[in-house]
């Protein structure tokens, strides 16, 4: 059962990471426009000048 000593913190840590990722996505406004996010992924003219903005706004890295 010694395996629990690192297994448990790891499991909880991963869960916590998920929670943090969720709060971050919430704070950065990714739930404001659900339908828009679904269709924006299809537009491909964002390769040049919009890269910077999109990285800031929506694309999770």
């Amino acid at each position: 059962m010694n395996v629990l000593i690192y297994l448990l913190p790891m499991a909880l840590g991963l869960g916590l990471l998920g929670l943090l990722a969720f709060t971050w996505s919430l704070r950065s406004g990714q739930y404001e426009d659900m339908e828009g996010a679904a269709v924006r992924v299809l537009s491909d003219d964002d390769l040049d000048r919009r890269v910077e903005r999109n990285m800031k706004d929506m694309a999770p890295r």
């Binding site: 059962m1 629990l4 448990l8 499991a11 909880l12 869960g15 916590l16 998920g18 929670l19 969720f22 709060t23 919430l26 739930y31 404001e32 426009d33 659900m34 339908e35 828009g36 269709v39 924006r40 299809l42 537009s43 003219d45 903005r53 706004d57």
Partner: protein, 763 residues
């Protein structure tokens, strides 16, 4: 400075860009939208627009590119869900909303300045808070379940008590703070209810969660086999899901409603004391301001005519279809359409105050008269909460009497509380509402209130207003078939050069008609010009020498316009024609067993014609707002539930008094505000669609409530018998919630249309 002087100076002073082509007489004034510009977090000027006409993903790029191509724009971001565009200007650039409106018009989109109201801002904060609570509960649920499953499988194999205690303590470590945070919406609401000495659904929820957590800590201290941390958190998760769905739907309808408000918001031409003319949003007008209203425009405010004469169409206010002549000193109401002439109006009430006293008084009365409808979920909750508490208490006492230990009895009572907590019940109604609202939105109906489905499903009588509801609000050429097409061509070309609303009705009969080069407008009579060397005239029958024809064609609800080309002449009958599918929809309603009646403020002769055409036997003409309410009250006394469909200001009180109300998008502001739903487009079909979807939605809600009850009938005896372990509780709760949600999804597949299937699909 006298008003007359300012009129005289107007053309020279108005800061101007005369539109090339079209009517040289119309001058575009400076537009002032400073009311809507605000500062964002990074100090840039920012403004929001509601955009009309977005229907595909490509629109996003088109709109954003069109705006970002303008100089001085830092960012333009379109929200595809709410159809709103937020534009931020660079810090050193000056904000020019007018340029953006023009750029968007160039790209083919209509944009309207938009201001988010405070209620919507608060909604947004609440939605975020709920979502964060949901996230925390979800995280806690998953991690505790990880530990719980280990314990459950360990209990039947070889887990050591020490490891189990460790797992329980870890669960407590996660569950207690998570519940304290994620439970806030319920705790607060329960405390509010208790303070008001009443019970709501949140009281048993709060009690259940608290007891489950308390008992679990106690059990853990005593090295017991079972702890209910997972149940408590899972309960919160499912309940929060229901609450979030409920909130999301109300938020979405509110966002739609304020988009509509922006789309409908009128601009006003304000006359400054120095005689200059500035176009401002109607919201920026204050009482006392002078406003200029020209032919073809709607009056943006309530006021008194200071100078000028005009004939004014007040059908949006009174339902009366024939125009009325106004002169200086006459009161005028927002929403009136000026047919000809120019009016200077001194504002007496502006913005949201534009009320007509009589209507306001009736509205107050109607609001109190409206039968209070208790929502299904609330009715269920009122029954439910006391029952849950009584059952838990009885099983506690019962087991004590039967000789169980206090410990055992308390454990069982808590299990009863947990298992009866209304997970499925909390999801039963909101899940259906969300899905049904989506179905209706696709059918062109926007909802103002969430419980409209339940009320609409019970309706047995449908009362229609005539003007603007059964008929389309715009005037249309009615006798096109019986008039020489060549004369209509000529009439349309002449009409294209005039701003008179009747002329517009003729012009739309031949889209793309080009006005002749030589055209002069004779005030109060018509227009005159020359085509192919023949003198042509369009205007009043007298002006065209058609009095004999006019007398033959006279009808109580129609306006007559005569056209003359040389010796050929004709009288054109212009009236508000019926919505194209009005007959089909009314027949459909009758097939469903609803009584259909017409309540109109127009003259009986005009109403009779429409009623005859639609085959409606029960109709009232010349009904004042008070009369309409009286009719509705009479129906109410007979125990009938009435759906009122209306658009005029005079309908607002009866919309508020009816048990459900719908208005078309073209309705007056105050009327839309009192309607439970608004439908788009020229067809009446959405009204039938609403009734069909509502009937389906109510059936599904009831099914869901029954599912929740059946679940309890099975689970509660198990709990009282002491067989509910945390594993059983988890399975039962998630199982019933999933079933209810899946059942709600069936509202999606509801067949919506009645007449639509036969008609060409709308774009």
């Amino acid at each position: 400075m006298s008003v007359d002087a300012s009129v005289a100076r107007l053309p020279s002073l108005a800061p101007t860009s005369v539109r090339s082509g079209g009517e040289p007489a119309r001058v575009e004034a400076v537009q002032d939208f400073s009311l809507f510009v605000r500062e964002n977090e990074s100090g840039q000027a920012e403004m929001a627009f509601a955009i009309e006409g977005i229907d595909c993903a490509a629109c996003i790029d088109e709109i954003e590119d069109a705006v970002e191509a303008l100089p001085g724009i830092a960012q333009a971001r379109l929200n595809y869900t709410s159809h709103r565009l937020t534009v931020a200007w660079k810090k050193d650039a000056s904000a020019e909303p007018g340029a953006i409106l023009r750029a968007l018009a160039g790209a083919g989109y209509k944009a309207y300045p938009f201001e988010a109201d405070r209620a919507e801002e608060m909604d947004r904060t609440t939605a975020r808070h709920l979502l964060r609570c949901l996230g925390v509960a979800g995280f806690a649920m998953m991690n505790i379940m990880l530990l719980s499953v280990s314990v459950w499988s360990g209990n039947v194999t070889d887990i050591t008590p020490e490891t189990r205690d460790l797992f329980h303590w870890l669960s407590a470590l996660i569950a207690l703070p998570a519940a304290a945070y994620a439970g806030q919406p319920f705790f607060q609401s329960a405390i509010r209810a208790l303070k008001a000495r009443s019970l709501n659904m949140d009281v048993p929820i709060t009690l259940g969660v608290m007891l489950a957590l308390g008992v679990s800590v106690f059990e853990t201290l005593n090295h017991a086999e079972h702890a209910y941390f997972d149940s408590a958190v899972m309960l919160l998760f499912f309940l929060l899901t229901g609450r979030y769905l409920d909130h999301a739907m109300r938020r979405r309808t509110r966002a739609e409603a304020s988009n509509l408000a922006a789309l409908k918001a009128t601009s006003a031409s304000r006359l400054a004391p120095d005689g200059s003319l500035v176009t401002v949003p109607a919201a920026a007008i204050t009482p006392g301001d002078m406003v200029l209203v020209r032919a073809g425009e709607r009056v943006p405010v309530d006021g008194v005519v200071v100078s000028g004469t005009a004939s004014v169409d007040e059908s949006l206010i009174t339902g009366e279809t024939l125009p009325r002549a106004l002169a200086a000193g006459a009161p005028i109401h927002a929403g009136s359409l000026v047919h000809d002439g120019v009016l200077h109006v001194r504002t007496t009430a502006a913005g949201e105050d534009t009320f007509i006293e009589e209507i306001e008084r009736l509205l107050d009365k109607a609001a109190t008269a409206r039968g209070s409808y208790v929502r299904l979920a609330d009715r269920a909750a009122r029954l439910y909460a006391p029952m849950v508490h009584a059952t838990a208490l009885l099983s506690l006492v019962g087991w004590l009497v039967a000789g169980a230990s206090v410990h055992q009895a308390v454990l069982i009572a808590v299990a009863v509380l947990i298992i009866t907590c209304p997970c499925a019940l909390a999801l039963a109604v909101p899940a259906v509402q969300v899905v049904a609202a989506g179905t209706l939105m696709r059918a062109g109906v926007l909802l103002n209130s969430g419980d409209v489905f339940e009320r609409l499903a019970l309706v047995d009588t449908v009362a229609f207003d005539k003007t603007g509801t059964l008929t389309v609000p715009e005037m249309m050429l009615d006798n096109a078939r019986s008039v020489d097409p060549d004369l209509i061509d000529i009439a349309a070309r002449l009409a294209a050069g005039s701003t008179h609303p009747l002329a517009r009705a003729i012009a739309v009969a031949r889209p793309g008609a080009v006005p002749p080069e030589e055209l002069s407008e004779i005030a109060g009579a018509g227009v005159e010009g020359e085509l192919h060397g023949i003198p042509v005239r369009l205007g009043s029958p007298d002006f065209c020498g058609c009095m004999d024809l006019a007398e033959a064609a006279a009808a109580p609800d129609a306006s007559l316009v005569a056209v003359r080309a040389g010796e050929r002449r004709a009288v054109l009958v212009i009236r508000q024609s019926l919505r194209p599918d009005a007959r089909a929809v009314i027949d459909q309603l009758r097939r469903w067993g609803k009584d259909v009646i017409i309540l109109s403020g127009d003259r009986p002769a005009a109403v009779a014609r429409v009623a005859g055409e639609l085959g409606v036997e029960d109709w009232r003409g010349h009904a004042m707002p008070a009369d309409k309410i009286a009719v509705l009250e009479q129906f109410g006394a007979q125990g009938r539930r009435v759906l009122m469909v209306g658009d005029g200001v005079n309908d607002a009180p009866s919309l508020a008094a009816a048990s459900v109300s719908i208005s078309p998008i073209t309705a007056a502001d105050i009327t839309r505000a009192h309607a439970d739903a608004v439908f788009l487009g020229e067809r009446l079909a959405p009204v039938a669609a609403m009734i069909a979807v509502s009937a389906r939605a109510r059936a599904l809600m009831q099914q869901n409530l029954i599912i929740a009850v059946v679940y309890n009938l099975i689970a509660v005896p198990l709990a009282i018998g002491g067989y509910v372990t945390p594993l059983v509780a988890a399975l039962a709760m998630s199982g019933s919630s999933v079933i209810v949600t899946l059942n709600a999804l069936r509202a999606r597949s509801c067949r919506v249309s009645t007449a639509d299937s036969r008609e060409a699909p709308s774009p």
